[in-house]
């Protein structure tokens, strides 16, 4: 029952955080100079971040695995929207398409068999001190992430030449002062040189249609994939072949197959 209590506590706290955040955001509308954080993009980001954290916690703490899976799907969605805020359109939709649309559907497909509403749970046997270990581990990862983020944010990438802006970093974009789309990045492909970032298509600089301007990502990623990362890309096909063979072996009804094989094997041996 401890888990239920903590779940209630958590959902209460999450709801409170959400409401408090919304109130703050609304207040920022009246006194923008007092609450400079709340630009539209950042405000939305904060909201999504809170929701993402809540859904991630729900995924861990909910007792019904189907609900957990759904919380995870929700989390994918919030992340996808955060990617959209960072103008990573392709990444956002791939996230939804691959993770939410394909992988989690398969997960649900399996989980559904074991846990049905109205039936008693199969019950779970957590490893001893699992919660404690999990919390400690999560805190360690959090600490690491914090160090990494703050160290990273405080420095300016030195490989950029003097005049260049920090355009390539989506995070930098999110927290930069003006949340307007910047120059479109395209990879120019000159034979004999490594693909490098160049700002082209100056005419699309005006913030008319964010999605359109940044849709060039598909092309940019495609070109990278078929030049710089061609070898890994081709090796991935072998990896997928391996996965297919492995899945075929695992998916086979082995007990039946073995009986069958044994008969043919013995039969052919004695027949000769």
């Amino acid at each position: 029952m401890g888990a239920d209590r903590s779940l209630k506590l958590l959902s209460g706290l999450g709801g409170l955080a959400l409401v408090a955040y919304l109130v703050l955001w609304a207040a920022a509308g009246f006194v923008p100079e007092r609450l400079p954080f709340f630009t539209p993009v950042r405000g939305l980001f904060g909201l999504l971040a809170i929701l993402a954290v809540i859904s991630a916690l729900a995924m861990v703490m909910l007792r019904n695995p189907v609900h957990s899976a759904l919380a995870l799907v929700a989390n994918f969605f919030f992340l996808a929207i955060i990617y959209l805020l960072m103008q990573q359109v392709l990444l956002a939709f791939l996230q939804v398409l691959v993770y939410a649309g394909a992988i989690m559907v398969l997960f649900l497909f399996v989980i559904m068999f074991f846990f049905q509403p109205g039936r008693p749970d199969l019950g779970s046997s957590p490893i001893r001190q699992q919660t404690l270990g999990g919390v400690l581990f999560a805190l360690a990862m959090l600490a690491m992430a914090m160090v990494v983020i703050f160290q990273g944010a405080s420095r300016r990438p030195q490989w950029l030449s003097a005049g260049e802006e920090v355009r390539s970093s989506p995070v930098a974009y999110l927290f930069s002062e003006a949340a307007v789309p910047r120059k479109v990045q395209e990879i120019s492909l000159t034979p004999g040189r490594k693909p490098e970032l160049q700002a082209t298509r100056q005419e699309e600089e005006q913030p008319v249609n964010v999605a359109k301007a940044f849709g060039g990502q598909v092309r940019a990623i495609g070109i990278r994939l078929y030049t710089q990362y061609l070898v890994p890309f081709e090796l991935t096909s072998v990896l997928i072949l391996i996965a297919i063979i492995a899945a075929v072996v695992m998916g086979r009804d082995r007990a039946k197959k073995i009986m069958e094989l044994e008969r043919t094997r013995q039969g052919e041996v004695s027949g000769e």
Binding site: R193, L239, I245
Partner: protein, 504 residues
């Protein structure tokens, strides 16, 4: 897309792949041949024809070996044209030494598989393809000069293993082992990817050459520290360094014995080379970031592994812990900032592979029907009922313990001497104490075979060896362990020659 864009995309032609990566391509050809053979010839699926596929496959392994030897001293890279970017796959002589070791392991495992597989009713036509694909992953890992390829290669070598581990139908622990290995392996891959992302954040590139050439400017040392820690965790899981070794005994015990032998040797060899090429070679300028963690892992591994190995009564579990401990010894070579020490890691791995594969060869045919494991009780009096197996096992144990007149002795000697020269005295002392302790449990096996009397005898205990191919592997492992235990000179010369001409 315009016409120009379509045509300017540079295609890596098959010929370039062949020039740079011939051993790997040969392994893929072998996989295709195996699949076609199993599909088209019903004879190879009978008990009598079970030798056909392994024999033909071992020819492919020899071919791959020849291709690897041909690359000696040539330093092939892919992309071949340097203007097209830094090498993603490349091979120096050390790479080729490791590739040859991997191929040797594959050859022996292939030869000893078929009789054993018939015995444990492992009839899957996909057994050999999975084995070869796993080695393909290992070879790719050895050639890899890019973190993306490294990750893909590690997945390629792991995925077939997850399946191979669970193939012993008569042994309940087999399925359990497969599940454990898969879940923990997936977890470790997560660490690895996260670490790779942070390394990318540090260096702004995924390519080893660019990482080594560029200075760490993009982000602070925290990025690098976190990245190294996570990547190291991912590797430590696969190599079974101590806090991440918990899966080893269960998985090694549960999987079919031949597969266990393969895992204990091949994975370790491939990943140690990956450690060498990523940390020792590429990140040589950032030694302070990774040397101490590696040494700490190693020290912990030696201590804990030995303590855990002492009470074991199952031979497979004992060998599992022994493999953990050996991973600890190998880290001694990793922390030495000298190229020759990496060569000695290779030497050690050869000794280790011969001894371990030999022991698992014996384990695989001593296994009582449907049991999947051999306990120390089972091998009591083996030296009398089956002297071949008994004496061979003794030699392998001696080699694993690192006692003289075995290759294992020289392996340890070279590594430790190098480490002392480099100033790692405390580490070497610890390793020496650990190996003294380890003699106890290796001796336990020998004592059981020579001193005790076997009460119940089965057929396997009297038969010297069930097949000619088995004999061949016997011969290889025994002769290798003994001859290079007396005259290690030629192998050492090979290692030295590998470093005579260094690229760049």
């Amino acid at each position: 897309m315009t016409a120009e864009a379509v045509l300017t995309v540079p295609v890596v032609h098959l010929r370039e792949w062949w020039v740079a990566f011939a051993p790997g391509i040969v392994l893929l050809l072998a996989v295709i041949t195996q699949l076609v053979l199993e599909l088209t010839l019903p004879y190879v699926r009978t008990n009598r024809g079970a030798w056909v596929v392994p024999l033909i496959s071992s020819l492919f392994v020899l071919w791959a070996g020849v291709e690897a030897v041909k690359q000696w001293g040539r330093y092939p890279t892919l992309p071949v044209v340097p203007e097209r970017g830094s090498p993603v796959l490349a091979a120096d002589n050390l790479t080729l030494l490791f590739v040859l070791l991997l191929l040797l392991i594959l050859l022996m495992v292939t030869l000893m598989s078929h009789v054993f597989n018939v015995r444990i009713r492992l009839y899957e036509a996909e057994y050999y393809p999975l084995l070869f694909l796993s080695v393909f992953g290992m070879v790719t890992l050895a050639y890899s000069r890019d973190l993306v390829v490294t990750f893909i290669a590690i997945e390629m070598l792991s995925l077939p293993l997850y399946v191979l581990v669970g193939l012993n139908v008569d042994y309940l622990k087999s399925g359990e082992a497969a599940l454990k290995y898969f879940l923990l392996g997936a977890f470790a891959s997560g660490f690895l990817v996260m670490g790779i992302a942070l390394l990318y954040g540090t260096f702004g590139t995924l390519n080893y050459q660019e990482m080594a050439a560029g200075t760490m400017t993009l982000n602070g040392p925290a990025f690098l520290m976190a990245g190294v820690a996570l990547v190291l965790m991912g590797f430590a899981f696969k190599i079974a360094l101590v806090p991440f070794h918990v899966w080893v005994p269960d998985v090694y015990q549960g999987s079919p014995s031949v597969v266990t032998g393969f895992m204990a040797t091949g994975v370790k060899a491939a990943l140690f080379y990956a450690l060498i090429s990523l940390f020792a070679q590429t990140m040589a300028d950032y030694r302070s970031y990774w040397v101490l963690p590696v040494a700490a892992f190693g020290a912990l591994t030696m201590v804990v592994g030995n303590l855990m190995a002492i009470p074991q009564t199952s031979l497979k579990r004992l060998l599992a812990y022994s493999s953990v401990v050996h991973a600890g010894y190998l880290t001694v070579g990793l922390v030495v900032p000298d190229r020759i020490a990496w060569g000695y890691i290779w030497f050690y791995l050869v000794a280790y592979a011969l001894a371990v594969l030999g022991s698992f060869l014996i384990v695989s045919y001593l296994e009582p029907e449907g049991k999947g494991d051999v306990s120390l009780d089972d091998i009591r009096g083996l030296a009398r009922t089956n002297p071949y197996a008994g004496y061979a096992m003794t030699i392998f144990m001696v080699s694993l313990a690192g006692l003289p007149i075995s290759m294992g002795f020289f392996g340890k000697l070279f590594l430790f001497v190098e480490a002392v020269h480099a100033g790692w005295t405390w580490f070497v002392v610890l390793a020496l104490v650990a190996s003294v302790f380890s003699v106890y449990y290796y001796l336990k096996v020998i004592v059981a075979m020579f001193m005790d009397v076997k009460l119940v005898e089965t057929e396997a205990y009297r038969k010297p060896s069930p097949s000619r191919l088995y004999d061949l592997v016997y011969l290889l492992t025994l002769v290798g362990t003994l001859i290079f235990g007396v005259v290690p000179g030629p192998v050492v010369e090979l290692v030295r020659e590998a470093f005579i001409r260094i690229p760049l």
